[in-house]
Symmetry: C2
Subunit: 299 residues, 2 copies
């Protein structure tokens, strides 16, 4: 059962217990372009207490560099090397785990952020934001030339999704031997500032359905994201806490890595998802209404 944090004493002991704080962003720090109250104060306090801060996001539309711009814009202190995104995890997975040979390429269903991370890791790609593939013109299989060097399809949130991209990706996955099927993340929905929209998991769903198989997923809750962090940052899992708003991504991710977990109720998860007869089987260690509650601690 989760511990419900309420008193200043509860928050103070949490601060004593954990040195490294990993944060999901959307639904925890902000909603779309609107900052959640108290976030700047809480992160500032953690920094003053010399806590290590990491931002772990499944947003695959932005590279770490452009995600840093979002923090700047909202007035939240952050550094590029504190930011871990699912697009970055996908690129590092291909360069480090798969060790994709230099002559091989990736077909991208995704946006500029995913392309930037692939480029940074030295991975050649096609598709993505290429205007030739961002089209609603009819797709003709007889006019399509299969590139035999495409060894993987990587799929993230792509608001330019269309039948040409899906058809090309399907050809690579069915006709190029051992072509890998990788998804940055499996979030079913995406929390825009004005409400929920279909998420990255919905963008890979057509291929999942057509192929009858699931992709390798690099974002939360996948272990791949944690492997990425482990390769770059030293931290003690026993003194680390993952703060998030989604049970099946953030909390599961923390639990899979042996971290403590704190659920905030400012995002996708509501009280009724964690209490009563229909409560999720995923149980965080701690629950609090909002990150701002931690300000209750007197420094």
């Amino acid at each position: 059962m989760s511990v419900r944090l309420t008193s200043a004493q509860d928050y103070a002991s949490l601060l004593d217990r954990y040195d490294t704080w990993m944060f999901d962003c959307d639904g925890v720090l902000w909603h779309g372009d609107r900052l959640i109250d108290g976030v700047v104060e809480v992160l500032g306090m953690l920094r003053r207490k010399n806590k290590k801060i990491l931002f772990v996001t499944n947003n695959a539309t932005k590279s770490r560099k452009s995600y840093k711009g979002k923090f700047d814009q909202l007035g939240v202190e952050a550094h590029v090397d504190e930011i871990y995104g699912s697009a970055y995890a996908a690129a590092v997975y291909l360069s480090t785990v798969i060790k994709l040979p230099k002559e091989k390429k990736v077909y991208v269903i995704g946006q500029a952020g995913l392309e930037e991370e692939l480029h940074e890791e030295g991975i050649a790609f096609l598709g993505g934001t290429d205007p030739a593939d961002c089209t609603l013109a009819p797709f003709s299989l007889s006019d399509f030339t299969l590139d035999p060097d495409v060894a993987a399809v990587v799929c993230g949130l792509d608001t330019q999704i269309n039948y040409t991209k899906l058809s090309k990706a399907f050809q690579y996955l069915t006709r190029n031997p051992e072509c890998l099927f990788i998804a940055t993340n499996e979030d079913s929905t995406y929390p825009s500032a004005d409400g929920l929209l279909p998420g990255a998991g919905s963008i890979s769903a057509p291929l999942r359905f057509a192929l009858g198989k699931d992709p390798v997923c690099t974002g939360k809750p996948s272990r791949t994201m944690l492997d990425c962090i482990n390769a770059k940052v030293h931290y003690n899992p026993e003194r680390t806490i993952m703060v998030g708003d989604r049970l099946n991504t953030d909390i599961l991710f923390g639990q899979g890595g042996g971290l403590a977990t704190l659920l905030v109720l400012t995002g996708i998860t509501s009280e009724s998802d964690i209490t009563g007869p229909n409560a999720s089987p995923i149980v965080p260690d701690y629950v609090t209404n909002s990150l701002a509650d931690i300000c209750a601690v007197t420094e």
Copy 2:
């Protein structure tokens, strides 16, 4: 175990036993725009023997009227009232089973054929081929006005699929109370003349994933398709045979309706799908290589 048809005698006794012959089209009569050898001769022979012929297709991009044009173009005799498509089944399901009130509307993910069938059944719709929804421009939820009269989303094969259509459909399905989620069919792939492409099931897959729920399906193997036929045609199921190339649509459909089933190997199913240790659990009554084999019968 299936009976493998080989001799002229086998085919002759099949002709004696069945008065009504239901045919799938793609993979049985043609591949894309290429007629399969012997089809005209076999259908001609069946007509001369006064067999009742029905064409039962999951193709939801064409209305029955425009599908008739495809028969004409390929030189195959067919009549509109012999053709049953999954778009027609979806329209009849809404008008006859759901009895959608006149003031209600349907949001369409699909092509002109689906719109034509809805129109014929007197069902108002939006989306579909509307240029405003056939766009890759960014979708803004704050600029979107939810139409409270949309009581169903109907999803068929749509090669103009995009994030605006998916986002609007998602809004209706999550924000309009009891909005129905209907798919014309769940075919994972679509057999174009030049090879397989993602099918209608792949087009509804993003919504299926985002909602975490399956649509009501009106095409084969669904009972809804058979209910449509039953409402219009008199036939004796015991003397009716369904001929198709897909085990999980055509053969399952026939079996669900208590019909005999004949699998042809000119389409998606190969010998290895029906024999050996990995054979499908769906077992047709009869198997033959091609519809043309039936010409072995001397009239």
